[in-house]
């Protein structure tokens, strides 16, 4: 117990400085969902050394210098992944100065990059990571044009080093939102995107001519064209937020036309065109609890979307699209299970599948030797709303199970104190 407390103090100290070499930690006696070919291991151990998983199995020899954590009766999974959030670029949604998710200037498009604004000291990060969320995509929101800009993958073990992959994808909007941004017609939104992609292709092939002023004018700025080059070359994915079945098909056509690496986001009516999505091998990022017919482009929303897409062979990963409750992505995953998705596919949609979609599978997504030690010990089924994380490790570092919210809770939990809360001994 004393060791644990000492460690937490140490972790708090270190977390506020720079990257660290972590100790060797052995989690023992757990039910481990490896999310790898090893499947589920019972009464198993996970050993973490220097930020990596050094071993996982049922009859491991625990190194003598390892700090042992008995996880008998507990469940261990990889740290969870939310595939589309605004973590780090929003603090209080209605306080403008704290919101950096979109620009309201139409000159700013593809080159816009969330990395320039991400705040690893955001109070939201601790709130979310103590519930087992260890990595997220931070994505720009729609601003004044169909192309919103570039997102990044971060891990929540900061505030030291926190970037996992910058410029991980380009984000764009079609359907009603795209139409709204381009004069009120869906076709105009597709046209603007096509124009941008054509210009970027031309720019990539004629860079020198452009620099010497011997090329036609482009609709986009030089910076935007440069940012789009990896997209038109198929080196990085284009994430298109889209809802209606017909808009999904329009996105698939555009992807074929330019040989893009397309990822669909939201796609509430995806189940209607699941075969086409599967055939195009396009992954879908979705929040499976979205079932309101809230606009005319999501009249087909259903809680069974995730199960139906999965059954059709579509690769799905889960997202919430928000910042404050990015942690609730596991409730979304549980809900998908309640409406027909196999449990393992739901857990995969917030661990191993996003690792593949975002090209991170060499370091994250499963509990396997050599992977980054993003590991969570749960007090029960990780997709269950009454389950909480007992311990969270991000790249081998055990994070303190503390946030601004737990401090508020502890400050006010006893109201018999004669002193105002701010003067009590609670933090």
């Amino acid at each position: 117990m004393r060791t644990a407390r000492t460690f937490i103090t140490l972790a708090v100290f270190v977390a506020s400085t720079a990257p660290l070499l972590s100790e060797t930690i052995a989690i023992t006696g757990a039910t481990v969902h490896t999310m790898s070919t090893q499947g589920v291991l019972r009464n198993a151990s996970v050993i973490m050394t220097n930020g990596r998983i050094s071993a996982v199995g049922t009859s491991l020899t625990i190194p003598s210098d390892a700090r042992r954590i008995d996880a008998s009766g507990k469940v261990v999974t990889p740290g969870l992944f939310n595939s589309l959030t605004r973590l780090g670029i929003v603090e209080v949604s209605a306080v403008e100065g704290t919101v950096d998710s979109a620009s309201q200037v139409d000159r700013i498009t593809a080159a816009f990059d969330v990395v320039d604004a991400i705040n690893p000291h955001s109070s939201l990060i601790a709130v979310n990571r103590i519930e087992g969320l260890t990595r997220v995509v931070v994505a720009p929101d729609a601003g004044k044009t169909v192309i919103a800009g570039q997102g990044a993958v971060i891990h929540l073990g900061g505030p030291g080093e926190y970037l996992v992959r910058e410029k991980v994808a380009m984000f764009a909007f079609l359907g009603e939102k795209g139409a709204e941004l381009t004069g009120g017609a869906r076709g105009a939104a597709v046209l603007r995107l096509r124009e941008a992609l054509q210009d970027a292709s031309d720019f990539a092939a004629n860079r020198r001519a452009f620099d010497t002023g011997n090329r036609r004018e482009y609709a986009l700025s030089r910076l935007d064209l440069e940012a789009l080059i990896p997209i038109v070359r198929g080196e990085r994915p284009l994430v298109v937020t889209v809802h209606r079945a017909s808009d999904i098909l329009a996105s698939l056509r555009l992807a074929r036309e330019f040989r893009l690496r397309l990822i669909l986001a939201e796609a509430e009516e995806g189940w209607k065109v699941a075969r086409e999505i599967a055939a195009a091998r396009v992954p879908v990022l979705m929040n499976p609890i979205n079932n309101l017919p809230g606009t005319f482009e999501i009249l087909g929303s259903t809680l069974e979307n995730a199960a139906r897409l999965h059954r059709a062979g579509v690769t799905i990963a889960f997202m919430t699209g928000d910042a404050h409750n990015a942690r609730n992505v596991r409730q979304s995953a549980g809900s998908a299970v309640a409406y027909g998705l196999p449990w393992n596919a739901a857990l995969a949609a917030i661990t191993s599948v996003p690792a593949r979609i975002w090209g991170l599978e060499d370091r994250y997504g499963t509990i396997e030797q050599g992977k980054d030690a993003d590991v969570v010990i749960w007090d029960g089924d990780p997709l269950e709303v009454t389950t909480f994380a007992d311990a969270v490790f991000i790249r081998g570092v055990q994070i303190p199970m503390e946030s601004r919210q737990t401090r508020l809770r502890d400050r006010y939990k006893e109201q018999a104190s004669p002193l105002p809360p701010a003067y009590s001994k609670q933090p």
Binding site: L292, G294, H324, N328, W343, V385, T406
Partner: protein, 499 residues
């Protein structure tokens, strides 16, 4: 009159509260009153008895709700959370004539009674949401269906949510599939006084009056804090500050008080035989507020911050009315002792936070801490999504409470979404718990309702099977959803969960 500041929300008292409300409801809505009265033309004062206050007659808008046809049914072998005490294992419930006739272990069947074997399933009271905008902010959320905020004046106490409700809002059915049987529909929070809320039974109907919960009192939506001061401040009109908000409340209450006094003076003069007393002009805005002063309309006060709630309690004390509940009370946990002592419910989310400054201090344990302090904790939705999973939201707050060392059980948390909301809406004598004689409003869940995996299998309202997940014929559809492409949207009988 409900002016009982010390009335505790204990079960026995809550029944009393509801009876009192029913009685006062009769005073305000005499069903026998002539139609002309509602139009504002009082009969000539020919006698010397106290004249009826013409503006108290709301019979033109009274409930026409009739329960759906129901046959008697005995549900057996279930785990029952009654919201009125301990759970009942292997329990049975007999629904007869739309009411709970028997509940307990070993309830005997009778000839002509259908028997439903609920082995492995759980039963709870029908869930109740105290804060919804279904029908006033319908789906699809287009401008043509945006009817929830009369944001044209900071005091619109004269508007009634029921006059906006679109009973064809498909969201009612999604809420039904989530086990919600009673809903308070409120105006939005742009105004200091948003208008009257209405409590409905969640049944398909052609008009809102056929949904209105019989005898339920009206609610008055009031709003603190950022919304009113933002909406009007950005137009450079009052209020633009929190102090401006409070001045706005107080001015309105003074006006309402005078309105009541003017009518009472008129009544006294009529009684005294004064030939031609000047009859006051009717004022719909003040009429709603006087309903609050007289205790027949319940204050449902949108208020996030602890310090603002204390201020609002002060305003209520100045003018002698009672606040029934603070809605969105994100900081209720900071004053849980005060709320318990003042007997004011805290209607909260499990974990919404941070979307604006006054919501920055939200914590998951809010409802749990309010409950622990002996207060009236309620999980509400304010959301067409959240209303579909009130059970899961309560589960999160219960589990968070237990994580910090409280010892909350399902028996406690079920009250946050059933009997406590019923009390807060003044309908606890009729619904909100599974007790003999109450309305047959209940949900059969396919598992523990505090699990993310559980779904409402069957929903009974006044004893009538209103929704059955395994029978498409018992899954109502709205006119709006008759489009052919919507056929596959409705959740059909889903295969059992593969865990």
């Amino acid at each position: 009159m409900i002016n009982h500041p010390n009335l505790k929300l204990q079960p026995a008292h809550s029944v009393l509260l509801s009876i009192l409300l029913l009685l006062s409801g009769c005073v305000t809505a005499p069903s026998s009153a002539p139609r002309a009265t509602a139009a504002g033309n009082p009969p000539a004062a020919s006698t010397r008895t106290a004249p009826a206050m013409p503006w108290k007659d709301t019979s033109a808008y009274q409930s026409t709700y009739k329960p759906l046809p129901a046959s008697d049914v005995l549900i057996t072998n279930a785990t029952i959370l009654t919201a009125a005490g301990d759970r009942i294992e292997n329990g049975s419930i007999l629904l007869r004539d739309g009411k709970i006739a028997e509940i307990g272990q070993g309830v005997a069947s009778a000839p002509g009674v259908n028997v439903v074997d609920a082995k492995g399933k759980w039963i709870t009271p029908g869930l109740i949401d105290t804060h919804s905008h279904l029908g006033v902010y319908s789906s699809p959320g287009v401008q043509g269906l945006s009817d929830g905020n009369e944001a044209t004046n900071p005091n619109t106490a004269e508007v009634w949510a029921e006059h906006s409700v679109w009973p064809q809002d498909p969201q009612f059915l999604l809420a039904l599939a989530g086990g919600v049987t009673t809903i308070q529909i409120l105006p939005g929070s742009a105004n200091l006084f948003g208008g009257r809320g209405v409590t409905v039974k969640n049944v398909p109907a052609r008009d809102v009056y056929a949904m209105k919960f019989p005898g339920a009192p009206y609610g008055l939506k009031m709003a603190c804090g950022e919304n009113p001061k933002r909406v009007y401040g950005t137009r450079n009109t009052a209020p633009s500050t929190r102090m401006g908000n409070v001045a706005g409340y107080r001015t309105a209450w003074l006006k309402a008080r005078k309105y009541r006094d003017d009518w009472e003076t008129w009544g006294r003069k009529v009684r005294n035989g004064d030939k031609e007393p000047t009859r006051p002009e009717r004022d719909l805005e003040s009429e709603t507020l006087v309903g609050v002063l007289e205790g027949t309309i319940l204050v449902q006060n949108h208020c996030y911050r602890a310090d603002e709630m204390i201020t609002m309690i002060g305003v209520a004390e100045e003018f002698g009315y009672r606040i029934t509940a603070f809605h969105h009370a994100v900081e209720a946990y900071k004053i849980a002792d005060v709320l318990a002592q003042k007997n004011i419910c805290a209607d909260v989310w499990a974990d919404w936070w941070g979307f604006k400054m006054e919501a920055f201090d939200g914590i998951r344990e809010n409802a749990a801490l309010v409950d622990k302090a002996g207060g009236c904790a309620i999980i509400h939705s304010d959301s067409a999504e959240g209303i579909q999973r009130l059970n899961q939201e309560a589960a999160k707050s219960m589990a968070a409470g237990n994580r910090m060392g409280l010892t909350l059980k399902e028996e406690d948390a079920i009250r946050w979404i059933t009997i406590n909301p019923a009390r807060s809406l003044g309908v606890a004598a009729q619904t909100g718990s599974l007790e003999r004689g109450k309305m047959g409003d209940l949900v059969i869940w396919n598992g523990n309702p505090f699990s993310v995996y559980s779904r409402a299998d069957r929903i009974y309202i006044d004893g009538a099977l209103t929704y059955d997940r395994h029978d498409p014929a018992r899954q109502p559809r709205m006119d709006f959803s008759l489009d052919l492409s919507a056929d596959a949207v409705t959740t059909q009988a889903t295969p059992e969960v593969n865990r």
